[in-house]
């Protein structure tokens, strides 16, 4: 499995073989506040990099979650329907949103690594 990569919209992604797991970062969940609902895409849906893939709703706002890379959704985290607060409690673990089969692994290079994301956070917030 690759190390976590990040987007400027505060999604994270890890890749195992050609399947990637996507979620939102600790910073994102903290900014949103208590998550009350997560709307996930249908399995089989094709998403493109930067396109809307899911919606996360907190007591404060509803926000889109964008696909970090292009591909096809192969699984979604059904457990979030019952326990949306998992996104707050364990954003990088049990709070994952979806798994997708990547169309082009090369797109990974366009994302930030841990160090770059930390620098991005420090600089922009």
């Amino acid at each position: 499995m690759t190390e976590r990569r990040y987007t400027r919209e505060h999604e994270w992604i890890t890749v195992d073989g050609d399947v990637a797991t996507v979620g939102i970062t600790d910073f994102a969940q903290e900014q949103l506040g208590d998550v009350v609902y997560v709307e996930l895409p249908a399995v089989g849906r094709k998403v493109t990099r930067g396109g809307e893939a899911a919606v996360v709703e907190s007591v404060k706002a509803a926000s889109e979650v964008y696909a970090p890379l292009s591909g096809e959704v192969v699984a979604v985290n059904e457990a979030l329907a019952q326990e949306p607060a998992t996104v707050n409690a364990d954003p990088f673990g049990k709070g994952w949103f979806l798994k997708m089969k990547l169309a082009d692994r090369g797109e990974l290079d366009g994302l930030m690594d841990e160090k770059a994301y930390r620098a991005f956070l420090a600089e922009s917030h």
Binding site: Y37, E39, A42, V55, E57, A61, A62, E64
Partner: protein, 448 residues
């Protein structure tokens, strides 16, 4: 601010400012063929007495629904509205600004809307209802959009037993979208096979109950087939009183129930304002359009009401909101709630029974009229007649005799020539045996 029209001096000053000589100069870019050749011939102003006299004379040309035998229906019904409904909805406690955003100043209105939602959920047999929509037709269109969101599919199939105006409203909503609407031809006999139109991209079947032509069908088999194909069943009710007697759509497996609420507490008043009811299953609540009131507790633990699940709505979700309607029919919802509360559960059922009994008497009497065939084998308070001549002609003739004989199907679906002789007749708790006799006699005269 003054509410007086502009003076000639005002006009001159404005025209001078923009540098034109007359108002007509502003229209020079409009081709002469599209302009009026001469000024519109309007009478000058009149005094209040003269205006009242003129308009009373106009109004006297109407044949109102009170005081004459009236069998009009087709989505708007002549029912009794208790005088107490009007008295109560005008009480100061219910006066509030347009939409109750602020719970701290709108508890009365919010509580009434919460009770309204509870009543709608109970009478439709569903789990959750919103605080109302504009009317039954727009609620139907919203139901189709919601079914598309829930199923992530784009094709809706409308029954030929759906009110033609409702059908047209859905088609209008879908016109500039990627959604496809398949509207089946009018189905006066109530025999269509709606389930046969299901395919892998069907988001919902939309069926009216009782149907536009009055038929009452068990929808459970249709619900099962829709669900097996991954589609939702949307049930439309245009006569809410029917729900006092019939099996609820929820019990038959409906996923979304929409209705016109005019029959309870709301006068006919030339066709509006009316009241859209909208109910669905808990699991779909986040895809539901419209405002929702919820019960909660305040900082001191006391019961109170607020608008809830607002993240579905425009002021938060913007263009991704579930609907572009951010309001409800508050006053009509209040009248509905008060009327239904006055009736109570048993009273609601009795009212429905009175309606059905009157319709049975109507059907039995009309079946004996030469030139009249009763189409329905089932009905609630409205049914379809096949006449020996075009229904519109018969209705006109009976209007001259001061009888409102019903709604010719051609009035609502002029394109459907096969329906030319079909007449919808409705009976309610206000229908008397004398009225039925007057209709039967006059209709017999016109058709012989």
């Amino acid at each position: 601010m003054r509410y007086l029209p502009l003076t000639q001096e005002d006009r001159r000053a404005m025209l001078a400012t923009i540098g034109v000589a007359s108002i007509d100069d502003l229209f020079v870019d409009v081709p002469p063929s599209a302009r009026l050749a001469a000024p519109v011939d309007l009478p000058l102003h009149q005094g209040e007495i003269e205006v009242e006299r003129t308009f009373r004379a106009f109004a006297a040309q109407n044949l109102g629904t009170t005081g004459v035998p009236c069998f009009l229906g087709a989505g708007a019904y002549r029912h009794h509205v208790p005088a107490s409904v009007d008295a109560l909805i005008q009480r100061g406690e219910f006066l509030t600004s347009y939409t109750p955003y602020q719970p701290e100043v709108s508890q009365g209105t919010l509580q009434a809307l919460f009770e309204f939602q509870t009543m709608v959920a109970m009478m439709t047999g569903m789990e959750v209802a919103n605080a109302s929509m504009y009317d039954g037709a727009s609620a139907t269109a919203e139901a189709v959009l919601m079914a598309n969101r829930v199923t992530r599919r784009t094709r809706a199939v409308l029954s030929g037993g759906l009110h033609p105006h409702y059908r047209d409203t859905v088609v209008t909503y879908a016109r500039y979208s990627d959604f496809r609407i398949e509207a089946l031809p009018l189905d006066p006999e109530g025999r269509e096979d709606l389930a046969a139109r299901l395919d892998g991209d069907t988001s919902c079947l939309v069926v009216q109950y009782p149907g536009f032509f009055g038929h009452v069908r068990d929808l459970a088999p249709l619900a099962q087939k829709a669900h097996a194909a991954g589609a939702l069943l949307v049930v439309v009710v245009t006569e809410a009183v029917a729900l006092g007697l019939l099996e609820t759509p929820g019990a038959m497996g409906a996923d979304i129930v929409v209705a016109e609420g005019q029959s309870l507490g709301i006068p006919l008043s030339f066709g509006g304002p009316y009241l859209g009811l909208f109910a669905t299953r808990d699991r779909y609540v986040r895809q539901m359009p419209g405002r929702i009131c919820g019960e909660t507790t305040d900082a001191e633990g006391r019961r109170g009401w607020v608008l809830t699940l607002s993240t579905r709505e425009q002021h938060i979700r913007r263009e991704k909101a579930t609907s572009n309607i951010c309001t409800n029919s508050g006053l009509c919802a209040l009248a509905f709630t008060i009327h239904l509360a006055l009736l109570g559960e048993a009273g609601f059922e009795r009212l429905a029974r009175l309606n059905h009994e009157a319709a049975i008497r109507l059907a039995d009497r009309l079946a004996s009229v030469k030139g009249v065939e009763v189409v329905n084998d089932t009905f609630f308070n409205e049914l379809t007649l096949r006449l020996a001549r075009p229904a519109a002609l018969a209705v006109d003739a009976l209007a001259d005799a001061r009888i409102l004989a019903g709604v010719p199907v051609s009035r609502l679906a002029p394109e459907d020539k096969a329906s030319e002789n079909l007449l919808l007749v409705a009976a309610t708790e206000l229908t008397t045996d004398q009225e039925i006799e007057a209709l039967a006699t006059a209709l017999g005269g016109v058709l012989s």
